[in-house]
Symmetry: C3
Subunit: 645 residues, 3 copies
Amino acid sequence: MLGVCYYPEHWPEERWEEDFKAMRALGLRYVRLGEFAWSALEPTPGALRWGWLDRVLDLAQKEGLAVVLGTPTATPPKWLVDRYPEILPVDREGRRRNFGGRRHYCFSSPAYREETARIVALLAERYGRHPAVVGFQVDNEFGCHGTVRCYCPNCREAFRGWLRAKYGTIDALNAAWGTVFWSQTYRDFGEVELPHLTVAEANPSHLLDYYRFASDQVRAYNRFQVDLLRDNAPGRFITHNFMGFFTDLDPFALAEDLDFAAWDSYPLGFTDLMPLPQEEKVQWARTGHPDVAAFHHDLYRGVGRGRFWVMEQQPGPVNWAPHNPSPAPGMVRLWTWEAIAHGAEVVSYFRWRQAPFAQEQMQAGFNRPDFQPEVAFFEVQRVAEELSALPLPPAGCAPVALVYDSEAAWVFEIQPQGAEWKYLTLVFSFYSVFRRLGLEVDIFKPGAELGGYGLVVVPSLPIVRKEALEALSQADGLVIVGPRSGSKTEKFQIPPEIPPGALQALLPLKVVRVESLPPGLLEEAEGPWGRFAFGVWREWVETDLPPLLRFTDGGGILFRRGRYLYLAAWPSPELLFALCQSLAEEAGLHPRFLPEGLRLRRRGPLVFAFNYGPEVVEAPAPPGVRFLLGDRRIPPHDLAVWEET
Amino acid sequence: MLGVCYYPEHWPEERWEEDFKAMRALGLRYVRLGEFAWSALEPTPGALRWGWLDRVLDLAQKEGLAVVLGTPTATPPKWLVDRYPEILPVDREGRRRNFGGRRHYCFSSPAYREETARIVALLAERYGRHPAVVGFQVDNEFGCHGTVRCYCPNCREAFRGWLRAKYGTIDALNAAWGTVFWSQTYRDFGEVELPHLTVAEANPSHLLDYYRFASDQVRAYNRFQVDLLRDNAPGRFITHNFMGFFTDLDPFALAEDLDFAAWDSYPLGFTDLMPLPQEEKVQWARTGHPDVAAFHHDLYRGVGRGRFWVMEQQPGPVNWAPHNPSPAPGMVRLWTWEAIAHGAEVVSYFRWRQAPFAQEQMQAGFNRPDFQPEVAFFEVQRVAEELSALPLPPAGCAPVALVYDSEAAWVFEIQPQGAEWKYLTLVFSFYSVFRRLGLEVDIFKPGAELGGYGLVVVPSLPIVRKEALEALSQADGLVIVGPRSGSKTEKFQIPPEIPPGALQALLPLKVVRVESLPPGLLEEAEGPWGRFAFGVWREWVETDLPPLLRFTDGGGILFRRGRYLYLAAWPSPELLFALCQSLAEEAGLHPRFLPEGLRLRRRGPLVFAFNYGPEVVEAPAPPGVRFLLGDRRIPPHDLAVWEET
Amino acid sequence: MLGVCYYPEHWPEERWEEDFKAMRALGLRYVRLGEFAWSALEPTPGALRWGWLDRVLDLAQKEGLAVVLGTPTATPPKWLVDRYPEILPVDREGRRRNFGGRRHYCFSSPAYREETARIVALLAERYGRHPAVVGFQVDNEFGCHGTVRCYCPNCREAFRGWLRAKYGTIDALNAAWGTVFWSQTYRDFGEVELPHLTVAEANPSHLLDYYRFASDQVRAYNRFQVDLLRDNAPGRFITHNFMGFFTDLDPFALAEDLDFAAWDSYPLGFTDLMPLPQEEKVQWARTGHPDVAAFHHDLYRGVGRGRFWVMEQQPGPVNWAPHNPSPAPGMVRLWTWEAIAHGAEVVSYFRWRQAPFAQEQMQAGFNRPDFQPEVAFFEVQRVAEELSALPLPPAGCAPVALVYDSEAAWVFEIQPQGAEWKYLTLVFSFYSVFRRLGLEVDIFKPGAELGGYGLVVVPSLPIVRKEALEALSQADGLVIVGPRSGSKTEKFQIPPEIPPGALQALLPLKVVRVESLPPGLLEEAEGPWGRFAFGVWREWVETDLPPLLRFTDGGGILFRRGRYLYLAAWPSPELLFALCQSLAEEAGLHPRFLPEGLRLRRRGPLVFAFNYGPEVVEAPAPPGVRFLLGDRRIPPHDLAVWEET
Ligand SMILES: [Zn+2]
Ligand SMILES: [Zn+2]
Ligand SMILES: [Zn+2]
């Protein structure tokens, strides 16, 4: 199903009906609205103006549109900030962050909790049973603009409380953090500060607990809104729109309080911002890197326990990346189908019409500011027609499971130990390899059941909790575990049995030394799949297991016991490809070697093939299959769908 | 005429007479002094020490030197700052900027207005009728060190007042800024903050109004001094020394209150700092880029309504650029003649003698700290002799007019939309092409009359006010309008008729989509002048006009109706050259193709040819002309002057 | 002799005896401890817990280990900071720096002086006569994390007092700083601020005095502790562990109050951080640049007036550089011998066992966190055995003396005048050339006697005080003086006789102009040793001396009178090599041309040869010598020692 984001408060009332009719005519079913409308609803404290929203919802109902109503808490009005200036967040540099953009509130502020309670309860009471309203979006893009972590006095108080609840006694905290180091022993929770502007680097356990706390605060704030909504909106779903390449927040935890996950998909903006070589940024500037959207579809499908929406889909140039190219013709359609192939229940575009004013005036929509349709309009028209003709079977499980961990991102952010070590880069490089191999991936948090997967990939899991170890133990496929896994305890200490810590139960080896390498320093390795040059990270392993791959100085780089493998280095793309291909073959997953711009995705018996490249490619379909969309010859930026049984 | 900057307060009194005699002997007529002398004049509050300056001026008078007296407000003394700490400016990061350098005051400070009134009135009363004093310089280099924009409480108050005066009602402001976006609706002007340290980017209309306000505050402060001076200094001119490559301030507006403009010309420092490829920085390290000084001469001649001085001319290495090379021998003479050829009424060098102490001790002067003459001394001696032998006809109009707009710089600073889009880079690349074509350029603000110019160039003019449109309509030459022109209303909104907005009256086309491109992503275009590869910026145009140049995907890049042309992309230097050459030929301007280091400038019937390059070049003079300086063979870093009729 | 750093407070008491026994078994004699143990000693204010340290020291005594006891002032406990929050330092940005790392105190804080007096006196009283305690280390790495320079109110007060003591009258200060420039004349010392956050750059004399003050404050604080210790610890030495490539602090001055110097040697970390081309960083990533440790050995031997220790020697990967590679096998042994060859009295490793917790958990030690020995353990075992078999003669004087000046580093930090001008880079490039020439270097502060050295090198000495001039006058070898020497007075002014100022007594020439060059702008020079291309810096010299080397435009680059030479440019490595080789030959020092990775060091009749390279090299030993370690064929990362008479 398709939807769109709409801001009735931006347009004259006489245009609403016409817009809603045009949405329906285009084939849209959902409309999201309201998420930045606080000052339109409450222009002065307590004087609620419901009228316009009443009329919008009635009109939507009349036109057959289902409304997702956003709570407006991402943008507290100026009067609220002036009344409670302490709700403004404080950045890592200790500077109060001002009103004038959005997300100008601290998750720990008691005053903001009260104001949130007031506006959300009012909203839910008034519209929770409105027939047009099918669900709610809580707030908008939690954490955007670096807002998960705040350094204000309210956060300091809340952090101290969080620590007290976690540790019980200050001695337990001292032991966990190793505060005996550098004389940091605390006598009371009230002595603990927020870890910023320290003279030397802060204690890593202190930082990790603070990052956990900050993520927890967002979750608690979301939960606070969810509870208010549930009370007043029977039968309505509640979701939130997560972001791409964003790790400050643990989406798996937060989504436990949601009905499903949603995310905002801007493939071109992400491609310009992600750490790719410049030539790849240029190569994919108009299509987005072929795995960027797919990765997040899989991630948020996991986060949503199988259910997800794309709440904001890029329909044209955006305004917030360093460079904002125009999508190649066909890409909006392709991205939509990629989302659907991955199981998206709804793809909702951002936005119905480009606003001619304010911060996002350069972000394109379905319609231009002069009310004429944009390119994307016609591409979506086509998707809507195609969709109505194509019955979608439910998506099954993927052959590959990937374990993704927000906490891992925090651990390595705190302690990279090598400037090039980036958690998301490692995860994405594993993910990309499977896409090139034509293999679908399901993404799980640590501890999720992994049974039934032919191949389980753990790019890196520094902290291995009991449930994660159990899940890995019970996996019945091949399990490949990446470097630095098991290298820390939950307290951010080196485990007593040294790395990989608890994983030694599965992989009897010890990592006795690690090193990070400067750019240009490559180690050569050799094995059954050829020779590979490695950089970034290397580990020394003591074990009785014979290495499957060795550095030329003799050190092992890949070890295996039974179905468990351990990779003791940052893998080069070439090694990763050879290794994953080999394991996939062993697991009977029938990997392919797809052309550079081609990607596949199955949904039940349907196979979707997407051509992100600039040349025609042949669909890797068995002879004689029936094509439901397109045909064997896939033009650039186009797709084909066929049925395999 | 020639002059020099002198700091009598830096030297023992017994040296003054000798210095003044030496200046006259060198052929100098003007001496600027006093602009940093506040604490020498008023070492403690209210205790004025006029004696030394009395003696300096009498001596100057005796020696036949005409004095330009600076008001000393760029450097309030420490006692003043201690008495009124609130005059210290606050930077964008919210930090109070301290005493210890210069320009440590806020233009909005009421206390500083009072202190300014006091010292300037005293100065004007005492010296406004002194026979040696021929004019005043207000303050020094307004805006230097990022001081146009201040974020202090006084500025906040003043900004609120400025908005109230502009908009009248807060509803008008809300509508203009589109504050309905992100719930930023204000109820009162007292709610509006300065746009900094916001969590997400601030509203662009808010930013633009703040930048306008900040520029206005400087103008008002200058006007405040001008009024004080006019009252007490009959017949004396008033000017200000503007800076190079500086856009925070609108010089056209400020100069309306001056008798003429002046600027400070440091070709080597600017060349090291401007955004050139490193190889060009090296190429021009000892000469300055050949168009840097010329561009500013033309700009400030326009700002000065035809009249300008060079108030500070670089005579040797400076101290403030990342690299400070020595000018090639001959360059001080060449720069001087370039200024004169552009119509400079006076070229005044900075400074008479290198100070052995304090911040600028590494900045060379005419004399070394040991009182010996520097290289520049002898070059200027030669210029003075040459000048006295060469009668200078008045300068006429140039064949090309270029429209320059400070507001355009602000718009693109606020909303580059592509990291490489820089207003000055675009303007300078147009300007440089005409210099290479041997064509003089006059520079105007938008709205100035453009009649009589064979070619009018508008590199980019995002906000097209009524008077600018009228002036363009009444131009009688060819008019080339660059990308993003007409793309914003005065309110910083997309115009209702979409870009190029009001320009559609002249150019019936619509820009329906724009994009910025990452470095390395080039689009190919083809047309009558060849094939060109473009990056940075592209626009999609809907129009019935046939394109003169097309991208290889068919999109038009250059459109024309009658004498108006629209360029829908960031031009490559190659295209710009071909296009401007072709238009100049059509306009009958007889463009040439000058060698890389050669530049021409006419002043009446005189043609000046400047050789910035390291090789001898031949002067492009018709056969048989009379050479007034040099001859047909121009050595490196030298010049020739001949008469054409 | 060998030692190790140990943190008993990090380990269970039952392990101490076992650890001490293992240290002795390994051949270690010294153990440093206690320097971060304040909160272990005084967990709450006034409640001292001596018991554990009593037992540690008694145990050390019993096991035959000599203890170096650190004063714990680098890490004041949280309760102390909470009681006196004003001890926290303030950074250049004006931000209070928080508790949570280490070195969170201001050297000017009266409260911290009191607390220091209390804890150091208690410690000295209790342990100053303990038989295990042979000496004290004051604090730890003074200045680490940018803590020499603080911008707090206490420092402002102290700086004003320091200025008053230095100048006596404010007029003297005004004259010295040239405050007449930019109206900065002060009426009272109480008007002077700390030089930061100024609108334009601060006055250089102001900055230099502040940098001197800041260095003096550290020295005074150290002296304060030394006095407390001397009173209570008869016969115990007092030292401090200095850092590498660190210039904020003048180590020569501070060490006047110590018995000898110590320093912390981390060759790999320094190599990753120093300004080397990336390819050299890669080349030496696992060995350290071959001259990094040697340079500091020579520097701190000079600082220690002939006596120094390595207090912390890197034994494996560290955690604080951008990249932290593993040392090549053999390097820990090689580094140890390099230190000993340079005269180190003790080499003490950091640390006995890798801590599994807190900030330095990724820094390797002799033992892993699981109590197993690391690679370094076995290398040191070998060194200990070799040491006991090799009688070490005293080290003699080197043939080359190098003059090193912290103040020079400050002058050029304040006024680089060219972005690439870095004092340490210049010094290190001179030093490296002599290492390649097989010539030892002694390092002195300006003013030290230089008699007996065949060659004296002054890379750059901007401020030449009377005693420095005298020492150079009395040198009896060749003296090469580098660019910008003599270019400033003690007041940070250009000397009246212009540069090289007082050095004109030795070198009758005047530097009449200087310039810095952008990268890529090279000047060609030619002379007896060939042609060389130069960048970065060039000077113009007026003199009757004929140049030994000329730029191709005729300007001289190298001048000589008698045994004094002046170099008027930033030297290229090629020129430096040719020049130093030639001078060394003239001086009869018998320079060699060593292979790239080979280095020599004499200690009495012993010659040590170190192979930092990856290939076997031949020892440059005369035929027939006796090898005491290794032999003529030196494997990679190995050494040889032979006797020459
Ligand atoms: Zn907060
Ligand atoms: Zn202000
Ligand atoms: Zn301080």
